[in-house]
């Protein structure tokens, strides 16, 4: 099994390491903004352990998916509104 997978993040191809979380893949490539808050503020990773829900993004069309506890998959699409 190859060690890397490719995600589509806001339409761009991003290489990620198999086994890592979506949040880790985004942070490693310098992405910080994962969604906009209710009042339009940029938000990203915060608690990192699945508790605060502030790292959510739209993954494979599903909104409000926690990127910190979701592992990368080849071909996964991530929409961050950044």
């Amino acid at each position: 099994m190859p060690d890397s997978v490719v995600l589509q993040v806001d339409g761009a191809s991003v290489e990620a390491v198999r086994g890592e979380s979506v949040a880790a893949a985004l942070m490693r490539t310098g992405s910080r903004v994962f969604h906009r808050s209710r009042t339009g503020e940029p938000r990203g990773l915060f608690c990192g352990i699945g508790s605060c829900y502030d790292c959510h993004a739209t993954i494979d069309g599903r909104p409000h998916v926690r990127t910190c506890v979701t592992l990368v998959r080849d071909g996964m699409t991530v929409e961050t509104k950044s």
Partner: protein, 459 residues
């Protein structure tokens, strides 16, 4: 005899409980919501980059040993979302099941972060988030990082950040750890070595500023500056002499908040801890005994300062205690291991007492939460709205929640609940244990409505 025992939480407490349960002849079923066992403290490296760091501590070996012994078939990615007399309700892979008592709860804790203006900026994370990124994936949260808050966890995270190549701009500690800490550390040589090793790795490379705190974070789409102020001995901000540090990430931690929700739904009480300003699950901190005979609770949810070591010792002790109450006869070697766990737990508990005296959570810290600071990150409710509601006579945080929507979002108040208590208490000149606390409501995590409906909608 072979009795099933449900264990919730795959961190040090739950793993040790599972290993001891097997040792005592019980059949443990361990559930954890993560992809891997270990919880937060024992988070295993997942990627090659993280594995190459190779800091195979004694504890890492301990945990792989625990995992090997404890785990027949753990249920991972299993969300314990409700509890009642008939057991723990667990959602896993689109199905719901009820795991019956007896049970040992080891749900752990989340981090306290005292909000200040700008803390919602991307790049500002909890120390636990930075640690998870570093340990599991070898990813630094930023290139130039300020680590701030209070507690020995700051030092550990600063070291881990350096290991993955980040520059730690400063460690900013609100307290000034009292001499009591040294005495306590000597009682627990393992943790003494750990503390000394962190300090020696930081010495000369990272400024450690005690009695300082971040009062503001600035940036556009992500954090760029941290403004640091001096604190007085009570934790109040002193005027003048603010320092600005450039950074591209900030890690915050002001202690730990026990995850009491599942235990409360199961019928357990909580008690106020005036040193940590937390509500802890009401259980014996050594044996995990609670007011419900077949239900034990251990770890950070009971003693937020106990660390992984007390969690592991009391987890094991709880399982042996439960087995004996169920009529198990321990073999001599198992009895020896039980006795060793008891000695270990007593020692670790004494250390937690020393830590309690050295680091104190201060109500004054929340003066940094200025009125325009967002408190509820889910619903974007600001501190001023919460204070105003409290001053207008809404004195209970559950009513403040309904009035302001703070605590009503996806995280169900886990992130803002403690802050709400402090703000409401301060605004009405009461103690935080006098203003109520957000009541946990099932499901404890958002679940698909179809899943709950298919299960009969019994919530």
């Amino acid at each position: 005899m072979s009795v099933d025992v449900t264990i919730v939480g795959g961190g040090p407490g739950g793993l040790a409980a599972a290993a001891a349960a097997l040792d005592a002849g019980l059949r443990p079923t361990l559930v954890d919501e993560n992809h891997t066992l270990g919880g937060q403290y024992l988070r295993e490296p997942v990627t090659p980059a993280a594995r190459s760091l190779g800091a195979a501590s004694g504890l890492a070996r301990e945990v792989s040993e625990l995992k090997r012994r404890a785990i027949g078939s753990p249920q991972l990615e299993a969300v314990a979302f409700d509890a009642g007399r008939d057991g723990i309700r667990v959602a896993r892979r689109g199905a719901i099941s009820t795991l019956p008592p007896p049970a040992i709860l080891a749900p752990g804790a989340t981090e306290r972060v005292v909000p200040m203006p700008g803390w919602t900026l991307p790049g500002v994370v909890s120390c636990g988030a930075a640690q998870a990124l570093a340990k599991a994936f070898g990813v630094p949260v930023g290139a130039s990082v300020v680590v701030a808050g209070s507690g020995p966890f700051l030092l550990a995270v600063a070291c881990q950040l350096m290991e993955v190549g980040a520059r730690v701009v400063a460690v900013v500690e609100a307290g000034r750890p009292a001499p009591g800490l040294a005495t306590g550390l000597i009682r627990d040589t393992g943790r003494l070595r750990e503390a000394v090793s962190y300090l020696s790795r930081l010495a000369g490379r990272v400024p450690i500023m005690t009695r300082h705190a971040i009062v503001e974070l600035r940036g556009g789409e992500s954090v760029q500056n941290a403004v640091i102020a001096r604190l007085d001995g009570d934790g109040r901000v002193r005027h003048g002499g603010h320092i600005r540090l450039r950074c591209d990430a900030v890690c915050l931690s002001d202690g730990f908040l026990p995850a009491t929700e599942l235990g409360e739904l199961a019928g357990l009480g909580v008690r106020w801890d005036p040193h940590t300003h937390t509500w802890n699950l009401a259980a014996d901190p050594l044996f995990g005994n609670t007011k419900i005979p077949n239900l034990h609770a251990v770890g950070a949810a009971v003693e937020p300062l106990g660390g992984a070591q007390l969690a592991a010792a009391s987890g094991a002790l709880a399982a042996y205690t439960l087995a004996k109450r169920l009529g198990a006869q321990l073999e001599p070697r198992a009895e020896a291991r039980r006795a060793a766990a008891e000695r270990d737990a007593r020692r670790r508990l004494r250390f937690a007492g020393a830590l309690r005296r050295a680091y104190r959570t201060r109500a004054e810290w929340y003066q940094r939460t200025l009125d325009d600071t967002i408190v509820c990150r889910c619903e974007d409710v600001r501190a001023g709205e919460i204070r105003e509601a409290a001053r207008d006579g809404i004195g209970d945080v559950n009513l403040v929640k309904r009035w302001t929507r703070a605590g009503m979002g996806l995280c169900q108040g886990r992130t803002c609940g403690a802050t709400m208590c402090e703000l409401v208490a301060d605004a009405t000149s009461r103690h935080p244990d006098e203003v109520g606390r957000l009541r946990p409501r099932p499901p404890l995590r958002p679940l698909p409505a179809a899943l709950l409906a298919a299960d009969g909608g019994s919530l």
